[in-house]
Amino acid sequence: MGKGKSRPDGTLVQGTLDMLILKTLSRGPMHGYAISQSIQQISDEVLRVEEGSLYPALHRLELDGVIDSEWGQSENNRRAKYYRLTPEGRKRLSREASDWRRLAEAIARVMETA
């Protein structure tokens, strides 16, 4: 099950995908397709979210209680499942974001000095 031509840097480590989903949802309730599109657009098509990783991740996060879901109407009047961040999700997002920032800065320093 490959992505075929997709670039190697487009694959996401699981923990990172979780964080991106949480971050995306912090802007408001969204359905799965919108989440994947949003990540893709904001990253300038660098990050591609496969549905094969997206949906299991969404369901796992829902079971963990960091996101919640609700069925609603989509923009084209279709039944769609909307996900939204729970207070617990917000806490996890801020924790993961700061962890990520520290890690990224550390990696950047190492890469620049080398």
């Binding site: 099950m1 799965g32 397709y33 094969g52 949906y55 079971l63 963990d64 209680g65 069925w71 039944r79």
Partner: protein, 868 residues
Amino acid sequence: MNRFRKKLRALWRRRQLDRDLQDELRFHLEMAAKESTGSDVGRRFGNVTSIGERCRELWTFANVETWWQDVRYAARTFGRNPGFTAVAVVALALGIGADTAMFTIANGAISWDMGLEQADRVVIVSATDAARAQSFGSSYPDFRDLRAHVKSLAGLAAYQFVPVNVSDHSGLPERYYCVRMSSNGNRVARQKPLLGRDFTSADEKPGAAPVVLLGHHVWQQRYGGDPAMVGRTIRVDEVPTEVVGVMPPGRRFPEDTDLWTPLIPTSAIARRDNRSLMVYGRLADGVKLSAAHLELDTLMRQLASQYPETNRGLTAEVLPIVMITGVYAMRPLFAVLFGAVGFVLLIACADVANMLLARAAGRAREISIRVAIGAGKARIIRQLLIESTLLSLAGGVLGWLVAIGGLRWFDAGTGTLVKPPWLHLKLDATAFGYLAAISIATGVLFGMAPALRLAKVDIHGSLKDGEYGTAGGRRSLRLAGSLVAFEMALCVMLLAGAGLMIRSTANLYAAPIGVNTANVLTMRINLPETKYPREEDLVRFHETLAGRLDALPGVETSAVVSNLPLGRWIEFPYQMEGAAPAEDRLPRLGAIVATADYFRVGQVRARRGRLFTDAETTAETPLTVVNETFAVKMWPGEDPLGKRLRVVRDGIPQPWLTVVGVVPDILQDFRHPLEHSPLIYLPYAEAPQRVAYLVARTGVPPSTLAQVFRTEVQQVDEGLPVYEVRSLENRIAENRLTTSLFSAICTVFAAVALVLAAIGLYSVTAHSVSQRMQEFGIRLAMGGTSGDILRLVFRQSLRPLVYGLMIGLPLAFGVTRLLRAVLAGVSPGDPVTFLAAGAVLTLAGLAGCAIPARRALQVDPVVVLRCE
């Protein structure tokens, strides 16, 4: 937690969950299709099922569900094989059910529980004469001295257990068991009255006002739970006695006590050689049993040197109180039965393991395929263990019914006779836990061998070979052979034990009792000292009563006797005329105290000389009659008639008795039906007994006279209860009951074991025959005869039988030793019984081999060879 709740909710709405998942993914695909080129969507469409599957897995109890799958798969395999399943489940049900029933009985019997606080710290102190290996009770002066000095015990109490008669206006006179104890008795036992007060030291002073504590059941049953009971006066052995308290429900300690009274040291009790007291104490904090024993031993030795004429050679014995209870003596027996039933269960396990092994041969292919498509070894073992546990759980469910039936049968068999009041046989939570535990344990136990064997299966071999896969093969046959040998060894031990029990029972029933037991009515009577203080009073009472009873229509003759047939005897120290005076204590003889008419009631005639008559017994020179064993043992080769001896009662030598006759032996000890003890018959007037049996030969069925006898007794003394009214035949049946019951249990166990062992041999033979069909066909085709084939089959199948016998018979010698307590007239290592056990097992084994052997003979070389 939260996650678990969500999953549970999802479990309820499984359909909804599936629909939602589908909707969600379809929505995604449609959105994607709108915004990109069609080909891309089509390529991805294949993933949807797999994505859905992965999401669904998150929402379900995946682990549990694969287990559930395995269980359903196992159930289906058994469903396809109903014959095999039925045999295996029934074998296991018999094993597990019998084991649970026996566990309940043994558990009830060994968990002696009288509600005593820290019962393991309570000890019984008795005096022993090590040189003679005899044990005695304690005397009051010894008890007083020990109590004054002992430091390792936190308290020491003495008691006597006596029957008393209670009479008052609350109903008919009744006989109760009374514990007369030192006033600290309840405090040492750490029990307190529910109502009223405990005894105080003032209550045990000579001349103190008589007081009594009532058992809760007496208070309820006789006095209807009268709230004003404390302070009322009742008559105990005709003495007006004040009720000072009522004990809590269920309290009977130290025996099956109905009433408690203070032990007042009367002149008889105060003698140092009157060893009629039981003494119990509580170990002081932190003191070990051995330390207490050492101290009491030292104290007893001091007493022995201080009072040599009464205490010479006496030392102390200190035992945990549980060891002196009646059932304690039965413990080895229960251990044997428990062991026996364990053997049955093991045999059942071995059987089922064997059947599974045989089945495994046919499953090698199935297992290989599972391994080939990716099942791990652990998964295969798990699957097989689930199968065996499922079998054993089914066996357990059916076994619960077997246990219920078994306990009913035991209950009906024993009635209330041999069961002490604290023994409760209930299939309670403990029993259920036990059943569940052994069900699972047996499942794992008998499933392990086939599971490990199958998990080692060689995939390539068995996929290529087809039916004759390597899971069967020689190694698995050898394993099956050892299992059967093991079954045979266990079975021959059970058979030997059962054989011994059967022979004991036969001996017991065949042994002549020596009296005509038909149409004899017996009852017990207890003449209290308070109303009949002198021995003449006892004699006069019985004379009066006998006159009235003999005059009743339907009564031929009545008599009084101290011990009924099979009821043992009483012992007296004695002296033989002309014998050298004894150095320390006198030897003892066994005696039956009886009025002259006892021989007429039992229809016993003198073998030599004559019987005594009641008129002669008051003469200056009293007479006696001895049994044949006594005559032969005491005066070998001499004429016993005219010999003289005398007994010593309470330290006082009695007048010389002249032997006037010899009577045939009457069986007094039912444990040893083939031997008799030397006994003499003492006229009642020579040694009147307070507690004795009334016996009467009747011309009508004895039970019809029971009420008439009661009435007659109460017309002579209206405060006197009559108890244990029964025909002599009933009493003898009761005496035999223990042995016949245990022999019945052993026989049932052995029979089940025999059937299971035969099935075991059958299944291993059938297995090997089915594997060797090809070989047999070739042999026949090459000119082998059916005799050759038979020899092959039997040689292989009988090997486990022979090994089993070789191991089992020597072990049986050791095991049957434990049965000694209940064996009657047969020794534990009786060779005839052992030979018979071996022969029975061999026959059953041959029968088990015969069916598959026949199939081996019917092999058609053409068919078998073409099959290949």
